[in-house]
Structure formats: C-alpha cells, structure tokens
C-alpha cells in the first residue's frame, strides 16, 4: 500500500489532539494541578526557571504540566514566553551577602562566622525508595523549627579576600550597561557577563558533565567548594523617576563559589581564584557545575593552557543552550528530500563512473 509522504493540516491538528489526550492520561485519575507541580515538584520548577531565564514559579509549573514533565520542552515554553515581555530595565545587582540563609556550607573551613547551616539537602539521605510515598493522603512529618541563623553571614570569599589571598573581582569601570543575552547575540571573545549569563541558562547536564571532566583531568583546576549558600535575596530596582533603588520582591537563589588553586603566572602573585555559579531556587548541582566551568573558561585570562573542551570558550558557550541544541538536533526530523536527492544523484553518478572504469579495466585485461 502506497503511503503519501507529504503531510498536511489535518495531520497537525490530529497530533495536537493526541498530545492533549496523552497529557491528561486516564480521566479516572485526578488531573494534576499547577499548584501541585509548583509545591511538590519544586526542584523541577527551579530548573525550568533557571534555564528558562525567568523567575516565575507559577508559569514554570504550568510549562512543566503542559510539557508532560519534559523539562527541556518546559524550558523552551518559558523562554518563548519570556522573549515577548517588555523590558523595564536592569535590576540592581543582588547582594547574596545579605541573603536570608536557608542553607550555607563551606568545604574549606570547619567553622566560620555564622556557622554551617545544613538546611534541606538530599546529601545525607540514603537513596532508598520510600514506599510510604507511594500512598497518598498522609501529611508529612513536620520539620523542627530551624534555629534562627546569625544576623551576619559573611561570604567565605569575602573573608579570604580581606586577606588578599583571593583574587578580587571588581566591577569593570569601563563597562557600561551589562550585556543582555536575551537581546544581543553572543560574540567572541566573550566578556564575563556574557559568559555567566550563558552558563546560567546553560543545560545542567552539559555543565555537570564538563565540570566533572575538569575534575578528571580535562582542564583540571583544583577546586574547593568555598561556599554554597541558598536562600532568599531581595531584588531592587531603580525607577528612573525616583532615582533610588526600591525593593520589588524576593527571589530564592543558590550561589556556589569555588575556590581554585592558582600558581601565579603572567605577572600575577600566587593567589586563589574563583569560579562562580548562580541559579534560581535550589539548584546546587547546577551551580557547582557552572562554577567549575566558569573557572575553566578563565584559563586564557589567567595565562593557563587551553587544551581541553571545558576551557574552550567557543565550544562551551556555543553548545550550552539546550533550547538551541534540542531544536537543531530535532530539526533532523524535518524533511531533507531535496538535499538527500542531491546526494543521491551524486552518489549514483559516482558509482556509474566507478563501474565504467572497472569495466574498461576488465576489458583491457
């Protein structure tokens, strides 16, 4: 039976209906509420907000529901929405030093001002499936009230910086407005603002793998988890007509500052350097991968060899975005009859030539 290769309007309508039906699943099972996604799949919401580059838990939850839990698809939905939003301007830089801490750990100091705050983490759970969760309806055991944290929780990097042991990171006085990756194309060589924005949106799995590769020797940079902190920070914005910053809300972020060995080259004294990671919500794995890769990408600036993919700026920054990557990979599903036909004509011609030559040779023998 011959099947037409060219599709049409009806096919598209049908596929939309099919995914809608699949999304809902068995109607006997209650429909998933967006609030449930937001409340109970918080880490998925955090990832979609981070890589979708939009802090909006409700929309991220909607995107996750719409995408049937396919997070890369949900990130894409959020980005496509974000791109249509008008710009009011840039917020003031958030001050993670003034964070309302929920979690704060340092691997470099046993104790430090403000102390270590474990907060919510899977780190010390035993990865045993909890079959109790398979039953619904039960209320979770209530967590004990957290002891109030110290008012002052200076960042570990600030403590080291005060001693001059850590390379200071100061704003570039020549820089005007910060780069806006949502409005401008990447250009190379990239400045750090471009790079960090790109890594912030970058695919968690990609950054995790690259960061892991640096640990295994592909661009080793001797990292220590100087500090990871997670909690709420205030977002401030300076309206033109006011001329001073006002708080417009709070967002939850995770910040990771890796401290890396540095031998001192190109005229710099030996000191520690850092790699920086930041993400919305509770996204510790993402921020650690990001910080490792950020540091690896500073190889050129610090006069280190650039021999491995994580140190290669164009390689990393051109391939980190999963919306771009999944789009281009999936476009292979689009018809390529014309290119393929061109190759077919060429291949048949070349085979015919080869056969003619072969026949001539045989005749000559």
């Amino acid at each position: 039976m011959y099947v037409a290769t060219k599709g049409g309007e009806a096919a598209i309508d049908n596929t939309h209906a099919l995914i809608a039906e699949e999304r809902r699943g068995d109607p006997a099972v209650p429909e998933l509420g967006v609030d449930q996604v937001r409340q109970q799949l918080g880490r998925a919401v955090d990832r979609v907000m981070t890589e979708g580059a939009l802090y909006d838990p409700a929309l991220a939850a909607l995107a996750i529901k719409q995408a049937q839990g396919d997070l890369v698809e949900a990130i894409f939905l959020l980005r496509a929405f974000r791109t249509t939003l008008p710009r009011f301007g840039a917020a003031e830089p958030i001050d993670t030093g003034a964070m309302t801490i929920r979690r704060r750990i340092s691997a470099t100091f046993k104790d430090l001002p403000g102390g270590q705050v474990l907060g919510p983490t899977y780190d010390y759970t035993h990865r045993l499936l909890d079959f109790a969760l398979a039953a619904t309806g039960g209320a979770a055991a209530e967590a004990p009230e957290a002891a109030p944290t110290d008012a002052s929780m200076p960042r570990v990097t600030d403590l080291l910086g005060a001693e001059g042991l850590l390379q200071p990171e100061l704003p570039n006085p020549d820089q005007g407005e910060p780069f806006d990756l949502g409005r401008e194309p990447m250009s190379f060589p990239a400045n750090r603002d471009q790079r960090l924005q790109n890594l912030f949106r970058g695919d968690e799995g990609f950054l995790l793998a690259l960061g892991y590769a640096t640990q295994r020797g592909y661009g080793r940079n001797h990292p220590f988890a100087g500090e990871i902190r997670m909690g709420l920070v205030e977002v401030e914005f300076t309206p033109e007509e006011l001329g001073f910053p006002i708080a417009i809300g709070e967002i939850e972020v995770t910040e990771c500052q890796m401290i890396n060995q540095f031998q001192g080259a190109k005229g710099l004294k030996p000191m520690f350097t850092r790699g920086y990671g930041l993400a919305f919500g509770q996204s510790e794995r993402k921020t650690m991968g990001m910080a490792l890769v950020d540091r690896a990408l500073r190889a050129g600036e610090l006069g280190e060899d650039r021999d491995h993919p994580p140190q290669d700026e164009e390689f990393v920054l051109s391939h980190s975005d999963n919306v771009e990557a999944s789009g281009f990979v999936s476009h292979l599903k689009l018809p390529h009859y014309v290119d393929f036909q061109s190759e077919l004509v060429m291949l048949r011609g070349m085979r015919a030539d080869a056969e003619r030559i072969h026949a001539r040779q045989e005749a000559a023998e």
Binding site: G264, A265, K266, G267, L268
Partner: protein, 260 residues
C-alpha cells in the same frame, strides 16, 4: 650577493611579560636577502619569545621589527594593519613549526596542504595547482603517489617535509624555523637538514632558525646569535662563533656540546 638593503631589521627589540618577567631584551640585527640567521640558547634564554616578536605573533614591549614590504621599503611589522600582516604571513613569510601538526591541516591531503597558499592568493586552476603541489612534494622527496594521502599517514619526518613544501610553494622571502628538527630521529634529522640547506640555497630565501641544537645552525646558518637570559651575548659568523667563541657563556655552550 648584493648587500644594499636589509630584508628585516630588528632594533632594540625587547619583550617583558605582564608580570615583569623578561622575555628578551634589546635585540638588534639586520638580516639581508638570502641570509640565514641562527639563534641558539638553552630553554628560557628568550629565543622563542624573540622569534614570536620577529614573526609578528607577539608585539614587543620595546623596539621595532621592520620588514622590507617592497615598494614602501622597510616598515614596522606591528604598524601594518592586521590584514596586511596576515597577507604577509601567508605569502612572503613562512613559519616552520617544530610540531608539523601545528603547521599542517591534518585532515587535508598533502597536495591540498601544499596548494593552499596558491589558492589563498587567487590561483583558480585545479590542474596548475596540482602540478605545482606535485613539483614541490618532489622537491622535498615525497613520492607523487602520496599526493592525495592525509598527513596523518606520514611519518614525522615526511610531515615536516610536507610542511616545508607547503611554505616554500609561495616563494616566500623569509622563513622562520622553530626547532625544525626537534622531535625527529637523528638519522631523519640529518636528511632533513641536508634537504633544507639545499632548498634555502637554491631559492635564495632568508631564514631565521631558532634551535638549541648547534649542529643545526652549523649546517644551516651564515650568522649566529647566542642568547642567554633574554639578551644576545655573542653575535658573529657561525663558523667564527662556534670555532672561536669569545663570550664565556658561548664557550660553555660550545664545549658542552663537544663533550656530549
């Protein structure tokens, strides 16, 4: 040989790295057409930094490097615009890298490698490009039936010869060589040196050869500079410097080779 105008002139060339570390300091010389200048010194002597400055890859922090660009005479290499400098590099200059992998396109056939410079300056006749590639591969003693093979199927010595053919095909006036025989077996080194000497003489191309190997400069260079701690400690005709070194460091360098 007419000695009217120098091909290249270095005047007080020095480079200090951002951290204050001295690369090289106050190097001056004139290089005449067809002349081969050897630069020797141990690693860290500043010879590689100097080569980078001369070859337009690293801007010196002091002094000037001038090259005879033809109608306009000697011009400061670092005052040329980037396209002018890049054009110079792929036509009148050539750099023979120590590792042929750095100087060749490993995924392009030997013939394509040799033909690239011709195509870069607008040669558009396939047959003529191929004929010239074959001619040059022959001159570096690579059999014609290897013309379509990839460099990775070649031995290290053959790769180095393809690299040389790839550069000489554009008839450069000046070739920079960075340890051209480094990493090769001794017997292969001797053959390559012999070939290089013949080609340099036949073509009348000028060259700056940087090496730690005195045998290389003995065979190739007319004049010799001995470098130590970023400075030139002795400069003279190669035979004179090697047979009758004046500076204590040159004496040490020559004697240590003789002992070895």
């Amino acid at each position: 040989m007419t000695r009217s105008e120098p091909l290249m002139e270095a005047a007080g060339v020095g480079h200090i790295y951002a951290g204050g570390q001295v690369g090289c300091e106050d190097v001056s010389f004139r290089l005449y057409p067809g002349e081969v200048l050897g630069i020797v010194g141990e690693s860290g002597s500043g010879k590689s930094t100097l080569l980078s400055c001369l070859a337009g890859a690293l801007e010196p922090s002091s002094g000037q490097v001038k090259f005879d660009v033809g109608r306009q005479g000697l011009r400061d290499v670092f005052q040329l615009s980037e396209p002018e400098r890049r054009l110079l590099m792929r036509t009148e200059w050539g750099i023979v890298r120590q590792n042929p992998r750095d100087g060749l396109r490993m995924s392009v056939s030997a013939g394509g490698n040799v033909g690239e410079r011709l195509m870069a300056v607008g040669e558009r006749h396939y047959g003529q490009i191929r004929d010239q590639a074959l001619d040059w591969l022959g001159r570096v003693e690579i059999a014609a039936d290897r013309v379509d093979h990839l460099p990775r199927t070649f031995s290290g010595g053959m790769q180095q010869r393809v690299q040389i053919a790839r550069i000489l095909v554009s008839r450069p006036r000046l070739v920079f060589m960075d340890e051209p025989t480094g990493g090769l077996d001794v017997s292969v080194q001797a053959r390559l040196l012999d070939l290089l000497r013949g080609l340099v003489r036949d073509l009348g191309v000028a060259a700056v050869v940087v090496t730690h190997d005195l045998a290389v400069v003995r065979l190739l260079s007319d004049r010799l500079m001995v470098m130590r701690h970023g400075r030139v400690v002795e400069h003279g005709l190669t035979d004179r410097v090697l047979d009758d070194p004046q500076h204590p460091y040159s004496q040490l360098l020559v004697s240590s080779v003789l002992q070895a």
